[in-house]
Symmetry: D3
Subunit: 172 residues, 6 copies
């Protein structure tokens, strides 16, 4: 059984992430989607709770015909100390052998303890970036074509545009 870990914050999970899961499932038996910084929400950079992000990912995978029996969607709270973070990930996830990430810190930390780290192809990078998508949501802009329709439907149901607009103007 070979497993790959796809780690990110998924704020929110968009079509690029969805293609990455397919890409990983072509190479591995199973894919773990690790939802990082799980404890944060209601900030400009981390607007959605772990539960909301999990629901978006679950719906996007399920409605794209990806076999959920081959996937794990797991929230992983940060530790605050980089040297402990890999152990936290190992503790919260089923055993995996390969990490898929384009983040250089993630690469350094996992390679230092002996994991193989592979890059993830960037799909339509111009349009599919978390920062950009969050800004578009806050402005009620053109974000809906960048997520799976079932994710859009869910996000509309929780009034995501209102929340992000509020967080943007907050100066707490």
């Amino acid at each position: 059984m070979r497993r790959g870990l796809f780690i990110g914050r998924f704020q929110p999970f968009h079509l690029g992430h969805l293609k990455a899961v397919s890409y990983i499932l072509e190479r591995e038996d199973e894919c773990i989607v690790g939802v990082g910084s799980a404890q944060y929400s209601h900030t400009v950079d981390n607007p959605f709770t772990a539960g909301e992000r999990i629901e978006i990912i679950h719906r996007s995978l399920k409605n794209s015909g990806i076999e959920l029996g081959r996937c794990f969607i797991i929230p992983i709270p940060d530790v605050g100390e980089h040297m402990l973070w890999v152990s936290r990930v190992i503790s919260f996830c089923p055993a995996f052998q390969t990490v898929y990430s384009n983040n250089s810190l993630v690469r350094v930390l996992f390679e230092e303890v002996g994991f193989r780290v592979e890059p993830v192809p960037l799909f339509d990078r111009g349009r599919l970036m978390g920062t950009e998508i969050r800004k578009l949501i806050a402005q009620s802009g053109d974000w809906r074509s960048r997520l799976h329709p079932s994710a859009v439907e869910y996000l509309m149901s929780i009034e995501c545009e209102k929340r992000l607009a509020t967080l943007l103007k907050n100066d707490f």
Copy 2:
């Protein structure tokens, strides 16, 4: 969409828990299996990591023919303050309306903020109790008939009997 939360520590997930998931899925559209005290492992009462417990649950559900598309398996770390715990659960899980639990503290805490809490029927309570099963594993006793075969296979592969025997005799 109606969802029920089945909350426990699942150290380990046994046939009683498995029947409870089926029971909940008869009453709800979807079932969230909330893996509590997720951050703990390697103690007599919490021998398995969240990742190991998730793997056991995932295998048990999948190999019993339960539809994974209707289930969420979510690790939930403790907060240490009972008044914050319900918010932690809400933060980590997709929205739910009903909590399934026989624990009186869980009942009090969720009812205080307005959730409906339902009991879970106890299946073969004489044989299916976490404390008892952990003791049997530590003693290489008769624990294998109390878990799903796919869970047993996995637990044997990680040498669970050795780990629990060691933890029991530890006096760190």
Copy 3:
């Protein structure tokens, strides 16, 4: 301006505590009632939240004719490291010179950093002990004569007997 700190968990604040505040106000200009272990609640030893304890203390003082302008009621969360606890207390309280406590650890910790620590007379110790009172509440026993009537009225309004009975039988 001389101030005394009266430190305890006040689970709950009873007539002995009330007399102690009067005793301290005879010796000091102002009295700080420090509500320790503030973050805990819903356990057998710490059943009430900080907010509930503050309400009980506020009502008991106010309805006993004690001048609230000479009192501070301040929740103090534990730190988990004894060496940091005195600094936490200093950080959360207005400046004080004397600590009133019968607890030997409190005495050691405050004396080590140069505070004066005075004992508090025990009023009717046979009947006025937190442990005993909590047990009586859980059993719907004779606890009402041991608290100020306004505290009893409040505790009845939040159904304290039900909560404590539930916590006692909990085996979470």
Copy 4:
């Protein structure tokens, strides 16, 4: 009994805050002054300890003729996770029904769990802003007319100008 929660960091509590408490007491039976970010001090944005802020608030209220028996002054340490913060506030405060705040994040978080949130009129906003007042203290500028005289007297006694000037030039 109707209670309103007035939540802020009060670094420091100025004449605008004082008027807000009067405003709230005209509408509610009692007012809780919740001192947020209670655990922080000795930074440019949070120069004063919770204890110092409580002392300033207590003196300002008492010497303005506000009835202390109708007020609670309660330090509330941050949790670090927005989803848990409302529960922390509920845990530390006597029961309240209405929250008074102009902060949009505070509004979102309390409204999500069903509280009523009311704005607070801004009194002399041009002169009464925490950021501005802290800068003036650090520069020994004209800050004294913006706080209650009893607060000024106290702040001078703890050499606030020296502390803020030092914090401003610190590059730790």
Copy 5:
């Protein structure tokens, strides 16, 4: 350069520990003395601060003629999650290859990530046990012959007998 880690709580460091360091230095180039549970003090089981324990160890080694240039004495605070603890140790210590410990949990945790774990010979186990020595200190009993004279001298200077007697009778 080969290094061995000798891990313990050292409450307090006695002649058995001292012999163990010599034993390790015969087998390794350098020895790290890892002072575990570093953040605790003033409890019956952890009476001394990390700083006090470091001073005892430093004096015992120095006055026994052990070369300090070959030793590291390092406080290691607990993490609270066993799966993170080994990473915490690695983060706080210079690189090491072998762990010396008789504790079975320590063995399990380090072996799971690939370290070699060696037992430490027990010297005069009947007389040299932390629990026993702490009890003797609290009772002003015969503990002085079980520690290095320079450690005894230091412990007397901080009035250790008084502190332990107080902690024993504390019921905070």
Copy 6:
């Protein structure tokens, strides 16, 4: 016995720090090198673990002929609350009377609880600054002449230039 505490983050420990230790040892019997923010690593400002920093300091002192028997090298994790930090330092270090630091916050915090705080002469400040040296390492620039040769040798062995270059370009 007079001891001075030299407190810093030592990211990394350079020739200016080394001279400071000599300077302190001329004035005190013993010197404690307190390695602050010990829990952080793998960030641009805190690239090295506590263990790596301790190894650099130990080698630099030892190979400069400084008597290790007169020195303590102690990692001190941050607390996150300035009012608790001095107690944390006291808890982790052997008793000391004087603090050596040029940082104004350190000065304020230690002076508030009665310690004497002395400045440290800056040796060749133009070339010997942590920020500057970290930048040079990341750029494979001229950093080697600014640390002790034994520290340079060690840092090369752990491929410090690669790590810092990676951290600089990281945008996690």
